[in-house]
């Protein structure tokens, strides 16, 4: 079953002067449980694609169908609510609310969704454990390392059980060990919770761990391959 389906999605900047095709007729399907990397050189349209799929940015043409409805047709409060209910986000940096502790950051979306207290607290605990930060529950983001902050961001994105999680270069600001560690956690949650992950990256070691790799160039999909991660790892 397709979770996301993009049809001829284009995004054109400066259409009147020197048009820039950030996305050029992108047609992609994403299925439940995928663990997919979007790769490509800088400026190839990775961020734009994730933003359009996530309803953070609009497209110039095409449609983005999520569960049969076109999110490009949603606007204002409806779109914000759609993001809140169905999509988890992890950004490259500044993900967390600085005045809230790790635990409170993870709880945040569930609070916005009005989860009952008990359920919310159990889930928060579960997520803190899943990302290995049980002992950092009360720490503020400024007291956490970059890797720990990103783990909290992943925990927050997943806590409310969205349909899929979008992550734009989640490891870009991390050293390789923290990056590996974050990937481990993402993979584990992908398997355990059966949540679709779509993330963009530069990092070859991260690319290797993805089961599907989509390559963009100048806003076009130039390759889309499934790879056997176990084999890829074994070859190392």
């Amino acid at each position: 079953m397709n979770v996301i389906e993009t049809k001829d999605v284009s995004k054109i900047y400066n259409p009147d002067t020197i048009p820039v095709y950030a996305l050029n007729k992108v047609n992609l399907n994403f299925e439940k449980g995928e663990f997919t990397a979007i790769v490509g050189p800088s400026g190839s349209g990775k961020t734009t694609l994730l933003n359009v799929i996530g309803g953070l940015d609009d497209a110039s043409n095409g449609s983005v169908m999520i569960d049969g409805s076109d999110i490009l047709k949603l606007s204002g409060g409806k779109l914000i609510d759609f993001r809140l209910r169905h999509i988890g986000f992890v950004f490259q940096a500044y993900n967390l609310i600085p005045v809230l502790s790790a635990k409170e950051n993870i709880e945040f979306i569930m609070l916005l969704q009005n989860w009952p207290t008990k359920k919310r607290e159990d889930r928060t605990k579960e997520m803190l454990e899943a990302v290995g930060l049980k002992d950092k529950s009360g720490s503020k983001p400024s007291q956490l390392s970059g890797g720990q902050q990103q783990r909290v961001a992943v925990a927050r994105a997943l806590a409310s059980k969205p349909r899929f999680v979008l992550a734009d270069e989640p490891t870009a600001n991390l050293d390789s060990k923290s990056a590996e560690n974050l990937l481990d956690i993402m993979l584990k949650l992908n398997k355990e919770e059966h949540i679709t992950f779509i993330f963009s990256t530069h990092d070859p070691r991260v690319i290797k761990r993805a089961r599907r790799v989509i390559t963009l160039e100048d806003g076009k999909v130039v390759s889309d391959i499934q790879q056997n991660t176990e084999q890829a790892l074994a070859r190392q």
Binding site: L56, I80, D81, R83, F91, I97, P98, I109, L112
Partner: protein
């Protein structure tokens, strides 16, 4: 949760928040002091002229105000007294016969204002007896006089001296008599103190041949009693020969000064508000701008704009409330200090004030209504100013457009 977020956001930049709070506190204290001082000044002016001399209003014979001669005096009757006694809000009233006379000692002659009073009544209402600075108040014996402080100095009169008053009596009869100065009085209004000679009412009536007659009945109200209401209550019970003259008409200079001071008060306070608005606005602008990235992320992950707007509104409100409450509390002891220790003017300034008929001191009033007013205004201003941040949020997009 929003309140918790707002509260914590406020303390992110502790120093800036404290500076803003401090400037609010400072502005409120200043506004309260200015307001209380100037209100105090007004009250002081009214008290020293109205409370002692004119009364809040006077009952006069129709025509007396235009022609202040003894021809327009009258004999107060019982029904008038009953009407006055039956009116709510009236603290008291007294009978006075006022006219002019030449006062002569063996060295000097000078035009004076003669006022016949009921010593016992004035004791209770205007407290003339407490304003004696030398000698004694009027007693049982006849032909005693009180002389205003300034007049006594000018004519070099002291207690025990004799004084001759010469004037024109009722119906053109000649009036002259001799008095013993029993005391020197200081009423607080230099205008009066430089000109007045006070006699017992019956002595004045005898001097002018105006038996049983008075020129005015000054009426004094209880504190905080609205003047209009008392007049309205009294009027229906009053004979049409009489008119009610409010002090505002009898003392037009005072009315004008009060209007002027009120205008000054408004200008100063508005100026303070403008200053404080800039301080609050600066903080709001900085708070909004340094948090744009964070607010975008909140928007991306699904926080509604309305909720974010509420959050920044609460932040501003907290800050203003904090400053306003502190300002309110801090104002009380300061304003009260100036009430107990009024600012005293000296030298030229003092002379200037005295020439207007006002004591050269400036006590404050301690009026919680004034405090509350400024506190509320600051709160309203800060809410209005947070419209800036609210507007910024309403045009916020989840993705920062890069250039």
């Amino acid at each position: 949760m929003i309140i918790k977020l707002s509260w914590r956001n406020l303390w992110r930049n502790r120093r800036r928040t404290l500076i803003t709070v401090a400037s609010i506190v400072f502005a409120i204290i200043l506004a309260n002091i200015m307001d209380s001082l100037l209100l105090g000044l007004n009250k002081q002016m009214v008290d020293s002229l109205v409370g002692v001399y004119s009364g809040h209003f006077q009952i006069q014979q129709e025509g007396y105000w235009e022609d202040k001669s003894l021809h327009n005096s009258f004999v107060p009757n019982d029904s008038l007294e009953t009407a006055l006694e039956g009116t709510e809000g009236i603290k008291g009233f007294s009978y006075r016969l006022e006219s002019v006379a030449l006062a002569a000692t063996n060295k000097m002659t000078k035009g004076t204002l003669v006022m016949g009073i009921d010593p016992d009544k004035e004791k209770n209402i205007t407290g003339f007896d407490k304003k004696i600075i030398q000698g004694n108040y009027l007693g049982e014996t006849n032909n005693q006089a009180l002389v205003g402080k300034g007049l006594a100095e000018k004519m070099n009169i002291s207690v025990g001296d004799s004084l001759v008053l010469v004037g024109e009596g009722y119906h053109g009869a000649s009036a002259a008599d001799k008095y013993e100065v029993s005391g020197i009085i200081r009423l607080g209004s230099p205008d009066l103190d430089n000109n007045i000679v006070i006699l017992k009412l019956e002595d004045a009536q005898f001097l002018y041949g105006a038996y049983d007659r008075v020129t005015s009945i000054p009426v004094f109200l209880r504190p905080n009693q609205p003047q209009e209401q008392a007049i309205a209550n009294l009027k229906p019970n009053l004979n049409t020969d009489f008119i009610v003259k409010p002090w505002q008409e009898m003392l037009p200079m005072l009315t004008q000064s009060i209007g002027l001071i009120d205008a000054l008060r408004v200008i100063i306070v508005v100026l303070l508000y403008v200053l404080i608005s800039f301080s609050i606005l600066g903080t709001i602008i900085m708070m909004a701008h340094e948090r744009m990235t964070e607010l975008r992320i909140l928007l991306s992950i699904g926080m509604r704009k309305k909720v974010m707007q509420l959050m920044v509104l609460i932040e501003t409100f907290f800050m203003a409330l904090f400053g306003a409450v502190l300002g309110f509390l801090a104002s009380y002891p300061i304003v009260n200090y100036f009430k107990v220790n009024p600012i005293q003017f000296r030298g030229k300034v003092a002379d200037g004030w005295e020439s207007f008929g006002i004591d050269p001191i400036m006590p404050t009033t301690v009026d919680f209504g004034v405090f509350t007013k400024h506190t509320l205004i600051i709160l309203v201003i800060s809410i209005l100013l947070s419209i800036y941040a609210i507007h910024q949020i309403s045009s916020l997009k989840p993705v920062a457009s890069k250039k």
